[in-house]
């Protein structure tokens, strides 16, 4: 089946070589970081996690978001998702691999990573995160491949796959819940210490994951003969739209609790993210994330409106723009603000801002390119099989 990835037109190969090039740059940057230490990044004693861990957190969401394509098909027999379920599973595979790579990139002693396995520590949420992420990867590889392979052979997938598919549904929720628990169980980090963190993670995931998928689907509609179909597209609009609305509702709850209670610890990070936060002693204002976070809110809300409007007028172009807006909005919200914001102010109420270095951005781009590379191969195979099947059918 994999041989399908070796056939493609010029654009396909140009795209693959572009990704390979970015991966190469990322690899070189990683060697630099490996030789110098994590000091090659913009992280500091005060902001101890940076863009790696924030990408990780966001991508767990993208992986979990695949659930929104799997669940309707397998649990509710929603037949119109038949063509995209596999895309959801494959997206989850690529996203989880990126998550694992981001974790590795972030470790100070990567060669010791297996200590998490050698010295299992059930009181650490990272221990559970390791289990659920690897488990989810495994489940999606098995299920996705088995189902597609059966389709390739023109038969129905074997019965043993079914329980695994059902298992993958709660499992998807678990990966993002446990990832939220990494943050929301830490005393002294007020911004993260909120029970709505896990629900908010899930809501944004169920919007961002399908949005990315829909973007890819629309691109494929242009570049290949593969069309997910109007009905599935419209259904996805509903899913993305409502999930995005729930996310903003939960964000609104955070804002209300912070500002109405007027408790400084609950307001500080929100101030920092959306308005700028002044240092106690010097009065200096720190606000490097403000433009991003404000843009995130505007893009998110505009995206939701455009999303529903595009369905009304049946415009693919507008739908694509809406999905890009929502995806970008949530990428900023979670892939920047959530993790970086949690470190401002520090537990000692100092303010240190974080700026990623070129090396760090290079590694980040390299990992995204790796994800794109894997995803392209998987989608190429999946689509070739699907199209061939439909031709013979």
């Amino acid at each position: 089946m994999l041989e399908k990835a070796l056939k493609g037109n010029g654009t396909y190969w140009a795209w693959m070589f572009l990704l390979l090039g970015i991966m190469g740059v990322g690899g070189i940057c990683y060697i630099v970081q490996y030789n110098y230490g994590l000091g090659a990044t913009g992280m500091s004693r005060d902001v101890t996690w940076g863009i790696y861990i924030s990408q990780f957190t966001f991508l767990v969401g993208v992986a979990a978001g695949g659930l929104m394509l799997v669940l309707p098909y397998y649990l509710h027999h929603y037949k119109d998702f038949g063509r995209i379920t596999i895309l959801g599973e494959f997206m989850a595979i690529a996203a989880v691999i990126m998550c694992l790579l981001f974790i590795m990139a972030d470790l100070g002693q990567p060669l010791r990573a297996l200590n998490v396995v050698f010295h299992p520590t059930p009181n650490s949420m990272l221990f559970y995160d390791m289990i659920v992420l690897n488990g989810y990867l495994f489940l999606n590889v098995i299920c996705g491949w088995a189902v597609l392979h059966a389709e390739y052979k023109g038969v129905k997938y074997s019965n043993w796959v079914k329980p695994l598919i059902y298992l993958s549904i709660p499992w998807a929720i678990s990966i993002h819940t446990v990832t939220a628990y990494l943050y929301c169980g830490l005393p002294g980090r007020h911004f993260w210490l909120t029970a709505v963190l896990a629900p908010r993670f899930l809501a944004s995931a169920f919007a961002a994951g399908p949005a990315l998928l829909l973007i890819i689907a629309l691109v494929m509609k242009q570049t290949t003969k593969f069309d997910v179909g109007r009905v599935a597209q419209n259904k996805l609009v509903t899913i993305i739209g409502y999930a995005a609305i729930v996310n903003f509702f939960l964000l609104g709850c955070e804002v209300f609790v912070g500002y109405y209670s007027n408790i400084p610890g609950h307001m500080h990070t929100l101030d920092y993210l959306y308005f700028g936060l002044a240092d106690h002693h010097t009065g200096e204002v720190f606000n490097n994330l403000v433009p991003f976070m404000r843009a995130s809110v505007v893009m998110g809300l505009a995206g939701i409106a455009l999303l529903f409007y595009s369905r009304k007028v049946q415009s693919d172009a507008q739908l694509a723009v809406a999905c890009v807006l929502i995806f970008t909005s949530f990428w900023i919200d979670k892939g920047l603000g959530l993790v970086l914001g949690g470190f401002v102010p520090t537990p000692l109420e100092h303010i240190t801002e974080y700026y990623p270095t070129a090396v760090e951005l290079g590694i980040t781009a390299g990992i995204w390119a790796t994800g794109g590379f894997i995803l392209t191969i998987l989608y190429k195979v999946a689509i070739s099989v699907k199209l061939e099947n439909e031709k013979t059918a």
């Binding site: 649990l75 972030d106 990567p110 998490v116 990272l126 943050y183 002294g188």
Partner: protein, 278 residues
Amino acid sequence: MDSTRRKFLKIAGLSAVAGIGAPAGLNMLMNKNVQAAGGHGDAAPAAHGGGHGEAPTGKRYGMVIDTVKFHERPGLAEKAIKACHSYHNVPDFGNNKDEIKWLWNERFANAFPDKSHYKKDDDLNSNQFLVLCNHCDNPPCVRACPTKATFKNKDGIVMMDFHRCIGCRFCMAACPYGARSFNWRDPRGEKDGRPFIKETNKLFPTRMRGVVEKCNFCSWRLAQGKEPLCVEACGGTGAMVFGDLNDPHSEVSQVLRTRFTIQRKPTLGTKPSVFYII
């Protein structure tokens, strides 16, 4: 698939999610009960350190910092810091980003953010306050560490195993006191011919890059029956008093019984072992 089966699957899904958080949650709940019954410090929970627990009657080392005495003796805090940092080979990179510190000065509003208010007296506003790892009885850093590279000793000291640490920095996110530092670069290196560790002390290991470090209450000295270096540096001033909080006859216990002291962020339930006379 029939509808009962579908319903079952949905419920099974939800319970699986709940189940993942349950062991840790249960663990914490159970500890709560023990503590509520046992009062401060005694009967400390065993489970958080993943087996590195403490017997109910065991030792629990702690410290009282008399900030008044420090403020009466300018330079004493710096002396204590130097004693600690030079012995423990704490590197000086000359910048805030890479900074490593075990014992250092903070202003009142930063050391005690929840006790700071807007009509502080002049002394509180201008003085500096020594901070270090609190060797919490209920340490969030130990709870968060995925490898047990940071763990609680039988005597209550929160220790680091530099050889096991994977450098994930989860403990740094978890510590509500900013007590931990990370080796962002090789501490054994140098810049422009100036080594980061001015004079390496062969009696204490230097660290490799990519691991976390912090104050260890000088546990290696306690084993030799000596006081921590910072306490020793204060000489007979009584500015720092160290000892077993569980021993009612220890000097530290007597100070705690007779003087009004405060802890950093006690509301977080970490039960710090460092107390302050303000």
